[in-house]
Subunit: 197 residues, 2 copies
Amino acid sequence: MPSKPKQFATDLSSSRVSVGDDIRAIRRLRGLTLADLAKQLNRSTGWMSQVERGQNEPSIRDLRKIAALFEFPLSFFFRNHDAPADERGVVVRKASRTTLGTGESGLVEELLSPDLSGDFEMIRSVFAPGADSGKVPARPTQDGGYVISGLLDLWVFGKKHELKAGDSFQFQNSVYRWRNPGSEPAEVIWIISPPAY
Amino acid sequence: MPSKPKQFATDLSSSRVSVGDDIRAIRRLRGLTLADLAKQLNRSTGWMSQVERGQNEPSIRDLRKIAALFEFPLSFFFRNHDAPADERGVVVRKASRTTLGTGESGLVEELLSPDLSGDFEMIRSVFAPGADSGKVPARPTQDGGYVISGLLDLWVFGKKHELKAGDSFQFQNSVYRWRNPGSEPAEVIWIISPPAY
DNA sequence: AAAATGAAATTATTGCCAAATATTTCATTT
DNA sequence: AAATGAAATATTTGGCAATAATTTCATTTT
């Protein structure tokens, strides 16, 4: 008798980017191992591995913990729930972007990349009038951006640059600071390589 | 008597990104060695090395040849001639972007990155109404983009995606094709990693 | 029976070294 | 003074072993 393939309650592998893939991506973003993360969740490494490979469903409770741990909205894991299957992993519609970050006031960031497993991530940032980042610690990444509208002051390598719509920038491993000196929101497309959220 | 530093007609190393750095970047983009390029210019490898390190000035004639060889506009090398020194290599002003490419009709591409030596390059593309790329051969790169305005049909992995303002995409190593199905120009910010022009 | 564990087996990553390529230097030639 | 070309240096590439991470799966727990 031929052995039949193992069956699971839900085939989570049908969508191009599953919850497990997302967990794996954000875990690696923070440099944790399966064992590290499993420990935080009081689960075994084996279980964690299965979850990330879509062979096992994490509980909503687990997902919550993971989201909180990495400061991602829980909804991140469901962002492409209702996207057509063949768009998943490739296209992100304006209406279904994930909002990132800790809700720092004066800044709204939306993920334009379908997932975080690529070589770079694309973010749409909207800076409120007067908003100021203060010093942002240097990261081992390369950052670039394009100002779609509004004004943005950007300090890099100790030098202030006054940017306006149509201007762009790119820099590496620098402490930086931004501020919206205008009275309108500033809209910027921001690129980070490798992804570092 | 202390030996004084060597002097050259022009100190090309003052600007953060010199002509030599540009030549080096675009040469590597195409995977050529110093010897390869030198040969094409009927020069020695040593001379080529000196030019790229700003210890030697290439003639305008040489620059022309290089530009033609790589299909860059000659003006590329002078794009930040009149930018403040401390902006060079970091900021690109709307007014002083370089136009890239071979002037393929229906497509205008401008380089938003200060130079081509980073991990990714940012390009602003404007697609004319009705313009169609036809099949673009796969490259060993990762591509992403954000539609600022207009409409763009994008074929990736054999599937057509109809994008409009606010939508974004990201894909890897794929043959693709784009087309502007609308009656207005489509403006897209395009990211390529690593740079591959 | 289904879910989870934990230890063994497998796979992936890292550090090192040698070989091959590529680049720089510099004494000499044009 | 500019350019060359060969020697010196530096960088990249490809194994290979050691370490770390992940997957598998027989067993235990719920």
